[in-house]
């Protein structure tokens, strides 16, 4: 009897692990071919001289005081940026999750727009606000450009949405009655929050903090433009060594250092998440939101709205203002100029970039959702070190510089059947690489929070694993999947670092077109860059708004 039961159990677990391996196959293959192999190839090119490995270079490079200075700056500015972003955005996440107010959908789309804007554009906008003659300068004579404050504020601007979406997404599904029950049992408001809500929320907060830390740790454009030449992050230094100085050995060492650092962060994160994760009671968000009550809640809402206005909307407004500020007075002159192909920069009218961007982003989103969705499904039942390692592996592309991946593509994917260097698909592939972690990070916490007993109950009642997934997991995870798809889409739309390596002149994306226009002198080019940035902003906002609509339409199925 006992023996038979053991046999059934082991057969079941064998079947489960076979399923998981099947789900993991495609994501593993994807990452091996489009990430691990190219990065390994370029690092090897740097560290292997005449067929012999030169690991001694690692010590030599790390001994340089310049490099150590870069490491130190990279770390502390990322810590400071993460802390500041959480401080400012967590109240925002709460407000979006719990309060119902007019214009909420639009605002949720608006706060996500900065996240997808290319850094060249944002840098220009922030200089206009924080630099000479900017908002602060005119009000109080304060200038923040080339200070670390400009970098930190721009990081908040970029990453606000990461916290609002990641934390807010889960928060809105937490049943407030659990907290109310705790209060009923005599807990103070704070104690109830700390004991009930905080533990449930902490995986999402950790995930958001991790993402913000990764983005700021590997920050490139923001630091380069706003920090001036005196501040340099590891990512900027890798770019300089690869692209300008062509010292591939030093770049390889720095890539390894960044890799190890990011790997360590991910390991710590995986550990904290595992310790804190618990099955949550998830509910439909409309049951948990309500209009703010009392002076305190209205004040909180007002404060959050004010911070959004100053930190997010104002810089975006500057772009719009400059796009309309044509020589003959305010008007659409720059927008009209976008439809002409005369300038010779692109062979096509700059306006065509919109279509290119949308096509690339759609392809990238499809790839990211398939790969990320499969990976998240495989990771749901977390057992074994192998699976946990895979979880962390999926996040690594966020921590590896675009220039390393781009140069890796060049030398690794250059032979049939994988000669992709001049293929259009390279752009969506590179973009999907950055999109997959978003899909996994957004979907996985929700999937894992599904009460396992629901699945067991379904299985006991005779449902196949596929049916269990469809009937139990899918309805709960659909919202998260949509948010994930939106994020992947938005990230692809604004992706610049990798795209600029591969986009061809006859089909530039919006960010690439903006950068090329900004790279030329003259009123018309500058104005067109601002006009295109504004269009990019609007396209993103519309895409995100549509997503908001889909979200609410489907919530009835919960």
């Amino acid at each position: 009897m006992d023996l038979a039961r053991t046999e059934v159990a082991s057969r079941k677990s064998r079947k489960e692990s076979a399923t998981r391996m099947g789900l993991m196959a495609l994501p593993v293959a994807f990452f091996a071919v489009f990430f691990a192999y190219p990065v390994a190839a370029i690092v090897a090119r740097g560290l292997k001289i005449d067929g012999a490995w030169r690991f001694g270079r690692i010590g030599e490079v790390l001994a340089q005081s310049d490099i150590r200075h870069v490491l130190w700056f990279t770390t502390w500015q990322a810590l400071a940026s993460t802390a500041l972003t959480l401080l400012i955005a967590l109240p925002g996440a709460y407000v979006f999750a719990r309060f119902d107010f007019r214009g909420k959908q639009v605002l949720r789309a608006v706060v996500t727009v900065p996240f997808v804007l290319p850094t060249v554009v944002v840098g220009t906008a922030f200089l206009a606000l924080l630099g000479r003659g900017g908002f602060l300068d005119q009000l109080w004579g304060v200038r923040l450009d080339t200070t670390v404050w400009a970098i930190l504020l721009a990081h908040v601007f970029f990453n606000y949405a990461v916290v609002v979406r990641t934390v807010g997404g889960l928060w809105s599904q937490l049943d407030p009655r659990q907290e109310e029950a705790a209060r009923m049992l005599g807990a103070s408001r704070f104690a109830a929050w700390r004991r009930v809500t905080l533990p449930a929320l902490s995986p999402a907060v950790a995930a958001a903090a991790l993402m913000v830390f990764l983005f700021t740790f590997t920050s490139f454009g923001v630091v380069q433009i706003l920090g001036g030449p005196t501040f340099s992050t590891l990512e900027v230094e890798i770019y300089r060594q690869t692209s300008e100085i062509f010292d591939l050995a030093t770049a390889a060492v720095l890539t390894i250092v960044q890799f190890v650092a990011v790997g360590a962060i991910l390991a710590v994160h995986a550990w904290t998440v595992r310790r804190r994760e618990t099955a949550l009671r998830l509910g439909a968000p409309e049951l948990t939101v309500r209009r703010p009550r009392g002076a305190g809640q209205w004040a909180l809402l007002g404060g959050v709205l004010a911070s959004i206005l100053v930190l997010l909307v104002l810089p975006l407004g500057v772009l719009v203002q400059r796009s309309l500020d044509a020589p003959g007075g305010y008007g659409f002159a720059y927008y009209k100029a976008l439809t002409s192909a005369d300038s010779g920069i692109f062979l096509v009218a700059p306006i065509a970039a919109i279509g290119n961007s949308l096509e690339y982003a759609l392809a990238a989103t499809a790839i990211a959702v398939v790969i990320g969705g499969l990976a998240a499904a495989a990771l749901t039942r977390r057992t074994g070190r192998l699976v946990r390692g895979f979880d962390a592996l999926l996040m690594l592309p966020l921590g590896v510089s675009a220039v390393t991946v781009g140069f890796g593509f060049l030398i690794a994917l250059d032979e049939p059947p994988l000669d992709l260097r001049s293929s259009w698909i390279l752009v969506p592939l590179a973009q999907a690489l950055v999109g997959v972690p978003f899909v996994v990070r957004t979907v996985l916490p929700v999937l894992r929070a599904v009460d396992g007993r629901l699945r067991e109950a379904a299985a006991v009642l005779g449902a196949s694993p596929w049916r269990v997934w469809r009937e139990v997991d899918l309805p709960l995870v659909r919202r998260a999947l949509l948010i994930a798809a939106g994020f992947a889409f938005a990230v692809s739309l604004g992706e610049f670092g990798a795209t600029v390596f591969i986009a061809r002149p006859d089909n530039p994306t919006l960010p690439v077109a903006v950068a090329r226009l900004l790279g030329r002198a003259g009123d018309l080019n500058y104005g067109q860059a601002m006009a295109l940035s504004t269009i990019l902003m609007v396209v993103c906002a519309v895409a995100l708004l549509l997503l908001e609509r889909i979200r609410t339409d489907r919530t009835g199925e919960f």
Binding site: G131, G133, P229, S343, A366, L418, L420, R421, A521
Partner: protein
Amino acid sequence: MTKRKTTAVVIGLGLVTLSACGSSDSGGAGDSKTVTLVSHDSWAVSKSVLADFEKQSGYKVRVLKDGDAGQAVNKAILTKDNPQGDVFFGVDNTLLSRALDNGLFQSYEAKGSDQIVQQYRIDQDRHRVTPIDSGDICVNYDKAYFSKHKLAPPASFDDLIKPAYKNLLVTENAGTSSPGLGFLLGTAAKYGDDGWQDYWKKLKANGVKVVDGWEQAYNDEFSGSAGGKKAKADRPLVVSYASSPPAEVIYADPKPKAAPTGVASGTCFRQVEYAGLLSNAKNTKGGKALLDFLISVKFQDDMPLNMFVYPVRETAQVPEEFVKFGPQAKNPETLAPAKIADNRDQWVKSWTSLVLK
């Protein structure tokens, strides 16, 4: 695995396979009717001129813009065993030695090479590169600022360290920007190996501001540019190109009668850009035809208003706007590519610790 799950995996795999196949029809490698030009982001040509070449030669031209100048060269070197195209255009004298030492190009003497201004011709025994255009990196000034303050704009490197021009100049990081590097090389050519550091100490004491790239320097910091005016920029001197003043006119609407900016003629460093037939090019015949085209009168005449550079062919027409709004510098500083190759990294390193730290 259930049937439906298998379907999902198959669809996913198909997606990746499909992406792999996408390359074969758009790659064009090995297609003798297509010739591929690899260049940097600043490459530009009039549609009609390119169409003419395609019609006459029977080749379809595919252009691959591969980042800024330095990046494009580095990528070409990395991929030289299996190049992305047939011809590379856009390696300048500051990077030429790196390209030649790495065996980037094969020999070909383009038809019409004898028409190129003598001073630009190098590598005459092997003909690995053909000069295509030249341009000057010079300090530009904001005319309005200087007339308002009744101050003569600076004319030379020496002027820039005078007290009258304190806190007026913005330049680019020599480590990351090619005009920034050009300006550094200009001072190295002018003051020599021993003198340039001293010059930069004085420049720093005189309040030179360094930003990372040309875009920030020109559009955000320089008060004379269209972008700078909007940004209320406060530096009336910037390191840019001799062709920037004509650009300020050509890209303005309505066009002003005179350029709002001028060039300090004694602060120029000459950049020459070269093209060459890539080693291991798949379509060498097409590549040779393309090189001939790049120094043909037609292309040389078309080039200035597209890329804001000067032609190198003796008979080529310099556009009227160039002559009127930004005449080419008379005696720009120059340095031999070999001298640049030997010293560039060390100079940039010294410059960085001297000026940025």
